[in-house]
């Protein structure tokens, strides 16, 4: 599984990224967490507000910090 956190590096984006890392660790799901900070790269996904949490190229949470518990739920639902 591939998790991407899109955001140019504001505190909210960093929190989301750290939450994603925590979620992967706690859920035990095999996933890679990538931080996308380049705006040109980000705009390929047609987003408006940051941060965005993407799981396997699908935007799951937009414009707000995704909480660890929430990410775990997204990750584990996907697997089943």
């Amino acid at each position: 599984m591939k998790i991407k956190v899109l955001g140019p590096g504001c505190p909210k984006c960093k929190t989301t990224y750290n939450n994603a890392l925590k979620a992967v660790k706690e859920s035990g799901v095999q996933a890679e967490v990538i931080k996308v900070e380049d705006i040109e790269e980000m705009m390929k996904y047609n987003i408006l507000t940051t941060p965005v949490l993407m799981v396997d190229e699908v935007a799951r949470v937009k414009g707000r910090v995704a909480q660890t518990g929430e990410i775990i739920k997204i990750l584990t639902n996907k697997e089943s």
Binding site: G7, C10, C13, I39, M43, N46, L48, T49, T50, G63
Partner: protein, 326 residues
């Protein structure tokens, strides 16, 4: 509305701590306790309300609406008003800018949004309410929205498309009026509530230090700077004070939370309100970090035109306020 709080501050400082009501220290401490608590309450309430608005009026929906509806020129005002009520993380401004341009929205309308968005934000509104009252807050908000509309409209007339960065121009060339179908998040208000509360708390927590510092400096000045101190130097009789205040403010990057309590004291001690509002608009609305972000999408020339236009209108509104408010 906040009488109880004043009573509390009076009791705490003058009775419990037994610091004289006529001493500088007593007055400064009283001011500090009263203002800090009041601002915190106002800030949380307003940020929370904005959070609810933002949950139900998402930016994608607004973009689609602006794009698909003919509004006979009102779209600038609307875009600017939306900029005022949608709080977003400061570094979202560039993705937003691209997203708007990409969907085929005219550059001017995008600018309207971009100008008002930092200028009128929930932190500034809460502090204005707490420090200057409802009337001045209303003036600030409505003139901020007006400034965004007019500024965006004028910038739109300049045909600035060729001053965008190359890769943005490429996007612009491929822009199409896409009407994205908005997918409704199937979450109830109850499910949203914890997120909104947490988000509001985060914002309050982040500006807390600035508020404390701002109010402390304000409280010290309040207690120690003599009444009408600034009348002589910065009074309304001097025409150059407005442009000077604005130009001084542009390179100043301060949090609205820190700067507004200090400016309130300047006003109490004799600086005209219009000059003060213009100064705060420039501090809040124009900043170097924003310029650095915009550099990603605009050439330096465009940033200069953009900042120049806004600066001009802020100075203009400063004069207008001084005329109306004196």
């Amino acid at each position: 509305m906040f009488d109880w709080l004043q009573h509390f501050a009076d009791w705490l400082i003058y009775s419990l701590f037994n610091i004289g009501i006529n001493t500088h220290l007593g007055q400064a401490l009283n001011f500090f306790v009263y203002d800090t608590i009041k601002i915190m309450i106002l800030l949380f309430v307003i940020v929370f309300l904005m959070g609810i608005v933002n949950t139900y009026l998402p930016i994608e929906r607004l973009k689609t609406y602006l794009n698909g509806t003919n509004l006979f020129g009102m779209e600038y005002l609307l875009s600017s008003a939306f900029g005022a009520i949608t709080p977003f993380c400061s570094c979202s401004s560039v993705p937003l800018f691209i997203g708007f341009v990409q969907s085929g929205l005219p550059l001017g309308i995008t600018f309207s949004f971009l100008i008002t968005s930092p200028l009128v934000n929930e932190v500034a509104i809460a502090l204005f309410l707490g420090m200057f009252g409802a009337k001045v807050t209303l003036i600030y908000v409505s003139s901020g929205i007006l400034l965004g509309s007019v500024g965006g409209w004028i910038l739109g007339k300049f045909r600035l498309e060729n001053l965008l960065s190359d890769w943005v121009k490429k996007i612009l060339a491929n822009a199409q009026h896409t009407v994205t179908i908005y997918e409704n998040e199937s979450r109830s208000f109850k499910q949203h509530l914890p997120d909104i509360t947490r988000g509001s708390w985060e914002i309050v927590k982040n500006v807390f230090v600035y508020i404390i510092v701002g109010i402390s400096i304000g409280a010290l000045m309040h207690g120690f700077v003599p009444e009408h101190f600034f009348n002589e130097y910065l009074g309304s009789g001097k025409w150059w004070t407005v442009p000077l205040a604005v130009i001084l403010a542009v390179p100043m990057y301060a949090s609205a939370a820190g700067i507004i309590p200090i400016i309130e004291v300047f006003v109490v001690k004799g600086v005209p309100l219009g000059t003060a509002i213009a100064f705060m608009m420039a501090v809040i609305g124009l900043s170097f970090p924003e310029a650095t972000l915009l550099k990603k999408v605009m050439t330096l020339k465009l940033i200069a035109v953009y900042f120049g236009t806004i600066t001009f209108f802020i100075i203009l509104s400063g004069y207008v306020f001084n005329m109306i408010l004196s």
